[in-house]
Symmetry: C2
Subunit: 180 residues, 2 copies
């Protein structure tokens, strides 16, 4: 149960609206914690009820319904509490690997197109990360602590994609060889 904590973190980085948070969960924080806009609205309502966050009308609201949220001391405290509590490493639910095992046992399906599709997606994601790195972390400068952490998180994403790509190519050779 870390969605509320991911939202708190995101709000601390920048107080904003549910709509905007939802878009942030399609990039940035969403790269390692996925959530839909409905989950976010629900969680915001709960956290407001719990006194962790409070809504306010932003200066640029005009006549819109827009609401921003800021983190209250109780929310900050809860985030710190949770951060120190041990949590399990992420458990994986990777459909493609299931498919591979299905292929190994069925021996009658061609996963090459799907693998190629995934390879392309991983390459696109890697390229995306590299663009972010070029923009936000120009080389040669020593970074303050917070920035250095953000940079290493980004690097982890890149490592992950690179590993997926390297492995995927090996797998492609194996699947291709035996198909022809």
């Amino acid at each position: 149960m870390s969605l509320p904590h991911a939202v708190l973190t995101s709000l601390l980085e920048k107080a904003t609206s549910g709509y905007d948070l939802a878009r942030r969960f399609d990039k940035s924080i969403g790269y390692f914690w996925h959530a839909t806009h409905q989950q976010i609205y629900r969680e915001l309502a709960r956290m407001e009820a719990a006194g962790w966050i409070a809504a306010f009308v932003p200066p640029d609201a005009g006549k819109t319904r827009k609401k921003h949220y800021r983190v209250l001391p109780a929310g900050r405290q809860e985030l710190a509490r949770w951060a120190l509590e041990p949590t399990a490493p992420m458990d994986l639910r990777d459909a493609f690997t299931v498919k591979l095992r299905a292929d190994a046992v069925l021996d009658e399906i061609d996963l090459v197109p799907e693998l190629e599709r995934h390879l392309a997606l991983h390459q696109a994601q890697l390229a995306h990360y590299q663009r972010i790195e070029a923009q936000d972390f120009p080389p040669g400068q020593p970074l303050p602590r917070a920035q250095a952490i953000q940079h290493l998180i980004l690097k982890r994403g890149m490592l992950y994609e690179q590993a997926q790509i390297a492995w995927g190519r090996e797998m492609l050779v194996l699947l291709g060889d035996q198909n022809t």
Copy 2:
């Protein structure tokens, strides 16, 4: 929605009971598709109702309640259908990365112990994979297709753990440096 397909795959690899499947989901197939025993029993009931699998009393049942399941043609067909359908790459929900970002913004918590704990877990998992490799895939022999796929899947798990470990050590240096 790939849990039923993971179960079908596992049953094709070896027809067995819900209890045994649950244990298999704590290792083997569970390394990349996690599920609890309640999910498995529920899914078995559904798939039996759908005509994808059928229960039978195994020869060694004695007076126990033990039931085994085998995959029916409809189940095999469904698995093949699903395997060819495009599915999204796994989306990540990694609590530790959320904690790191929380640390970056709160700047008042010490994640070193939690990181060390995770590092130890990744090292243990890697060692476990290496034992499996030594046992099941002795070097130097060309493997049949199905085995070669299984081996590459295992290698992917090892790559993943190695990447986590290498990255974790870098992160440890960063967090440690700035704590002292």
